[in-house]
Amino acid sequence: MMSADETTGGGGADGGFEDETGFNEEVVDLDLSCRPHSRILSTIRTIVTGLADQHGFPDDIIGQIEMAVDEACANVIRHAYTGVNLPNHQLYRIHLRIVLCNQAMTIHVIDNGIGLHNKPKGASNVEEYLQRGAKGGLGLHIMDRFMDEVSYQYPEDGGTHVIMKKYLPTAATS
């Protein structure tokens, strides 16, 4: 039913995504790409909430997916390319891949930036966030808290590849 995620390979450059979905009738997948400017965030939220709604998620969960994706993209915009010198200006991008299958919605957020290897662990709760002086860590915490699965990959050629998955309520209970 969802060959898609099982065989998932790397993200990578534009068009270099591996075909991971085969021709499964039940899967819809879509690549998005844009410049990493914060004014794109509302556009991305409109797209993600529209697709989550069409896919049958209830409103409260749509809000969670919206926020997790917004945080991941805001991180690319604010952090990924700081002090990075890429050979080609077209490499400064946010890439998204959205995969809709019977049981879940999976969103990949990919950049070619400095990488999140030695990331400050996301605050595991709000107290921790406050102890740090309410600075940093809240975005990663929100992604963790609001999505069912979050994982990070670090493509060989650099950058960060975040994969977030949310199951449809009915599928989760079955």
Partner: protein
């Protein structure tokens, strides 16, 4: 494509509180303008800052951090940031993340009057 706006009301002559309506979304993009505007508002030394969030449709961690910053600055001067009537969606985010225990949230105009009276009285 206007999805963020502020309405900054006159400072209340009686109790020096000030109300601001926040409209649309407070995300990593719009928070830049928001923080600049709030700096101007705080320069006027309001006793309390009341943010009317009834028409706030979205808030991200950047928006929440900005509200945290305002809370701290106001409390330092014995003031308070009061979040008035957040929409259900925004309130749900505050609650799920534990911010209802930190922010001063009031759910109606009556409750706002009570809160102001008790703080100033």
């Amino acid at each position: 494509m206007k999805n963020y706006d502020l309405v900054i009301h006159e400072k209340n002559a009686a109790d020096a509180s000030q109300k601001v309506d926040v409209l649309g979304c407070l995300d990593s993009h719009t928070v830049v303008d928001f923080e600049k505007s709030m700096q101007n508002v705080l320069a006027g030394m309001p006793s309390h800052l009341i943010l009317n969030l009834s028409q706030l449709t979205y808030i991200s961690s950047a928006g929440i951090s900005a509200l945290m910053g305002l809370t701290h600055r106001l409390r330092k001067d014995n003031g308070e940031l009061i979040l008035l009537k957040p929409s259900e969606k925004v309130f749900r985010v505050f609650r799920t993340l534990g911010f209802t225990a930190i922010f001063k949230i009031v759910e109606s105009d009556d409750a706002l009057q009570d809160a102001l009276a008790s703080r100033l009285g």
